[in-house]
Amino acid sequence: MTDATTTTTGTDAAKLLRRHETMAVIRRTEKAAHDLFMSGLVKGTTHLAAGQEAVAVGARGALRDGDYAFATYRGHHHAIAWGATAEECLAELMSKATGSCKGKGGSMHLTKAASGMLGSYAIVGAHLPMAVGAAWSARLRATDQVAVAFFGDGATNIGAFHESLNLAAVWKLPVLFVCENNLYMEYTPIGTVTAAANPAADRAPSYGIPAELVDGNDVVAVEDAVARAAERARAGDGPTVLEARTYRHYGHSRTDPASYRPEGELERWLERDPLTVSANQLRALGTSDDDIRAAEESAAATVEAAVDAAKAAPGADLAEAFTDVWADGGAEWRT
């Protein structure tokens, strides 16, 4: 295992500014989701990813068009990083016909299959074997694609995690296991329920899989690490485990005020907010404050327009309750 070192050397400032703007779109979308929930326009629950943007955006930045992503119920950032618009995401949360899943998925199942983001799954760890299967498929079809599974620290204690690492290693598949370790398994500190200090990275060596710890709040560090892992995968050297240490700004879900956090913890992590980190990197690369502000304002305007459009959109089409069960579009079960 190696510690990734952050390096902005050679980083293209324009590219990083695009990453920064995408992260800002995600941040604004999460804030909008929270506010819309509080005003009664989003029902059910939401698991917001504010604070974890750099993992999704950095990973997508390192990968190619057509590479597959599988996400969790905390997956708004992955969907947007893979090209879902704030509007189709927020419309989905608001049960609108224009939602990315036509109102049949909701916050926990945002999906952008057209660009390879093959779903957000709300059973912890269930999507890791799917990513293994997508990587297996890429190998069988000789496409050079890789698959990435994003998951939380809590998923490392479920059987599917271990079955996936073993099979991916045995079959040497082009799959990346990216753990977003945000320190909490729902309401419980991960360290109190896990025998390994680094729940994903420490387990990887027992499967013969290389692992890296990466600063999950540093989009450049994530991008570099994912690029290394993807290169290994495409070269036929098999899977990699990346454990990105990060932090969620909100509680686990809508109903969680996160009162279990020690005093000062959130504040310390806010100092390392991914958007602050990338802004500082941009300045170091010579990007002006005006350009950074313009990117953030553009993101804010995008999300503001998305909220307005989602609010104005018609509600879910009632006929959709009975479509999409089968590949023929229907739901027939008998003669």
Binding site: Y68, G119, V132, G133, S164, L167, E320, V325, D328, W333
Partner: protein
């Protein structure tokens, strides 16, 4: 004549020959040919890039099949004993049947999960269950359960070509049974029950192992002057209740023979539809000959007590005819 067992491998091989995206994965299915010898010959013909041995990792097997199915392949995953479906039930209950719907139709999952199902062989409580009713509780899965060698091939063709996920139940008690081989290009559509015997007094509906049982019972009943229609459902989903209703229209009596437990068994769905839509056709109460609501015991004599037998079907039909 060929066996049901050989027909499993034959059905898969025919599809692998016509479609390069069909791949198999499962425990011991490669060079070993499967613990039930239902994949014999596949590894030799198609090699390790099409026939993959896996670890004992049911979640990884079915989950990987799902991921591959979403990305252009047509995987055929084997779960050795259907009891083990419980080890990967998340995939059958929460993932595979729901992903198309919950993504608004963005993905399809053309996969087959094959599994050896059913009792009668003395394997005890954890290797003998008939669990086709488990799958029937979940909207989004298609379910096939053939009773003859030719149907194994024909339904396998439909299952593998299906763009929807299919759970394919191969009955352990039928593996050694023989029947006419499937003709070339044999395809049996889903949702079309087979009327295997025509009678006027009672309709007996069966699936997989209970079909030969129903046919034997019908022979014995005929000796006693009772003529039975025997309907093989062949698939539970789609469920061909129209064929059942058409038969009941002629016979006015219905007996359903199912190996899964009475509690929650598929026969309950069949009789509920007939009760709702065909009540006026009936001259007697409907009856279900089903597995008892107990775990499967080991000893032969005990197992016979709790799964359907020819005697139980004959007795049930006679009581019904006398009603």
């Amino acid at each position: 004549m060929t066996t049901y067992r050989e027909s499993v491998a034959e059905g898969i091989a025919r599809e692998m020959r016509r479609d390069d995206t069909v791949v198999c994965l499962g425990e011991d299915i490669g060079a070993a040919g499967g613990v039930f010898k239902t994949t014999v010959g596949l590894f030799d013909e198609f090699g390790p890039e099409r026939v993959w041995d896996t670890p004992i990792s049911e979640q990884a097997i079915v989950g990987a099949a799902m991921g591959a199915a979403m990305t252009g392949m047509r995987p055929v995953a084997e779960i050795m004993f259907s009891d083990f479906l419980a080890c990967c039930w998340d995939y059958l209950a929460n993932e595979i049947p729901k992903v198309r719907y919950m993504t608004g139709g963005q993905v399809t999952v053309p996969l087959v999960v094959r599994t050896a199902n059913g009792g009668g062989l003395g394997f005890g409580a954890q290797h003998s269950q008939s669990v086709e009713n488990w799958a029937l509780t979940v909207p989004g899965l298609k379910i096939a359960a053939p009773s003859t060698p030719a149907d194994v091939v024909g339904l396998m063709a439909t299952a593998i070509r299906s763009d929807d996920p299919v759970v394919f139940f191969e009955h352990k008690g039928l593996f050694a049974s023989k029947g006419a081989p499937a003709p070339d290009g044999h395809v049996v559509p889903f949702g079309q029950a087979a009327l295997l015997r025509e009678g006027t007094d009672v309709t007996i509906v069966g699936l997989a192992s209970t079909v030969p049982l129903a046919l034997t019972a019908a022979d014995r009943l005929a000796e006693q002057g009772v003529q039975a229609d025997v309907v093989d459902l062949r698939t539970l989903l789609p469920l061909d209740v129209s064929s059942v209703l058409r038969s009941v229209e002629r016979t006015s009596r219905l007996v359903v023979v199912e190996e899964n437990p009475y509690q929650g068994g598929w026969g309950a769905t069949v009789v509920s539809v007939v009760a709702e839509e065909g009540f006026a056709l009936l001259d007697a109460p409907m009856r279900r000959v089903a597995g008892a609501n107990v775990p499967l015991p080991f000893a032969d004599a005990l197992e016979d007590q709790v799964i359907p037998t020819v005697d139980k079907v004959v007795d049930t039909v006679k009581a019904l005819v006398d009603y």
